[in-house]
């Protein structure tokens, strides 16, 4: 057996990484095709606000980012769908607003330290047993929702108006997608990092899209790219001693660049 798996923290990192690689690829497929690729970035910065609130109030560093990201995610979707505001403008406002508030809170708590660095760029040693179990339960739940509603979710992604005309509850499905994304981002920030989680959700599907296959094959390819990126990134992170998030995203970026040349 490889030495890497002798360490408990690496076993946890691989379990969480594998679960999240599948989930982020599937969620990212719907998000990118909705032209909503900025959403994970905005949600991750909002999750940082949750970290800041957690530091100031001494509340859970796991659950507070989830709660804050979910509430903000619902607000974003409400403003986009019901109030018909431009989605990129809303995302930009939430992203910069949340980041500003997070910096103020972290300043107040005197929390600029190594722990914060691991939130920003990810750390393979950061995943606790509690986070691993929570991630596995949530991944199983989220995958079952996405697979169970994939036909309706795909129709909404393709054309919201026609989907609504055919009786599909468009707003509900959009809210589900945003909430699942918010929780995923908040869970993934420990291993991938707040600044890099957006790339993990966007790069695998963007790579798969270059091959111009049908939806089913495209999503399957995105999952394979994401899975391979996470596994390779964790190995690289362990043996080279670099941030896990950066290693994962660089592998995903490499796949994208190679695919770009293959499909020129």
């Amino acid at each position: 057996m490889l030495e890497i798996f002798d360490y408990d923290f690496m076993q946890r990192a691989f379990v969480v990484g594998i679960a999240l690689s599948i989930l982020t690829a599937l969620l990212g497929s719907f998000i990118v095709l909705k032209r909503y690729a900025m959403l994970p970035d905005a949600l991750s910065h909002i999750a940082l606000l949750g970290v800041g609130i957690g530091l100031v109030t001494h509340s859970s560093p796991i659950y507070m980012p989830i709660v804050v990201a979910v509430v903000a995610g619902v607000a974003i979707e409400y403003l986009r769908y019901k109030k018909k505001l431009y989605s990129d403008a809303i995302l930009s406002i939430f992203l910069s607003g949340a980041l500003a508030m997070a910096v103020v809170l972290i300043n107040l708590s005197d929390g600029f330290n190594a722990s914060l660095f691991s939130y920003l760029f990810g750390s393979i040693t950061a995943v606790s047993d509690e986070e691993m179990i929570l991630t596995l339960i949530f991944t199983a739940f989220a995958l079952s929702i996405l697979i169970g509603s994939y036909r309706q979710m795909l129709f909404v992604t393709l054309d919201e108006e026609t989907a609504q005309a055919s009786g599909i509850k468009v707003f509900l499905l959009n809210i589900i997608l945003v909430v699942l994304s918010a929780v995923t981002v908040a869970l993934a920030m420990r291993i991938v990092g707040i600044l890099l989680i957006g790339a993990l959700m966007v790069l695998p599907i963007s790579t798969a899209l270059l091959y111009k296959e049908n939806f089913f094959k495209t999503v399957l390819m995105a999952i394979i790219f994401s899975f391979t990126s996470v596994i390779s990134g964790l190995f690289i992170s362990f043996y080279l001693g670099i941030s896990s998030g950066a290693a994962v995203v660089l592998v995903a970026l490499l796949f994208f660049i190679l695919s770009l040349f293959i499909n020129l």
Binding site: L33, S144, G148, S149, R151, Q152, L154, F155, L158, D159, E161, T162, A163, Q164, A165, S166, G167, I168, A208, L209, K212, E213, N214, F215, F216, K217, T218
Partner: protein
Amino acid sequence: MSIIQVKGLDYQVGDQIILQNISFDINQGDYVALLGPNGGGKTTLIKLLLGLIVPNRGEIEILNTNQKKFTKCNKIGYVPQNVSLFDNSFPLSVYETVSLGLAGKKSWFSFLTAKEKTQIEEAMETASILDLKDKNLSELSGGQRQRVMIARALVSQPEILILDEPSTGVDIVTQKKFYQFLKNLNKERKLTIVFITHDLGVIADDVNYVLAVNQKLIFAGTAQEMLSCESVSELYGTKSHVVHHHCRGHEC
């Protein structure tokens, strides 16, 4: 038998009146062209019929049910505007696209049944796209995409088919073929068809009912009645001359 009844419909956004006092009936098996200038309220009227927006005043009955309580969405097939300008990067095969037409009546966590798979094949066959079923939408021409969207609308076996400017972005020959295809659907399946067009000349000999809207209902009647200088002038708010070409049935 009346299949769509509209009574005293008003719709406005803020102070801007979009539609005012619109009333008409559409019977089962009618083939209806909805005409009007840009900004005249045609698409808004379609959205009201589909229940996508709610009128400020008036009533809509679809298949003898008030639109507010209408839940049989699969009984109405809808083809939106600009299908020929579809996003080329969206990864979707023809089969996947047509199968989405069943998404509205499928419950979550359910797979396609053998009967539904047959429905999908039949809808593709009706639209003459069965040979394209494994192709991606990005590989199709504008005319082929139109047929894919029609097949998607037909797969739930609707009683009414509503199309918003289906001929936008395709050439005149494809338009003629497309309207002939719609006419066949109307005749052979007794399907009630309502579509928005700007080109009355192309469809004048085919439709049996014309609705002309410019905030108000300007005209409701046959295409031949509509093709008078007065009606066309009133609809578009400018002096018009109608020129008739008697060349139906042969090349011209």
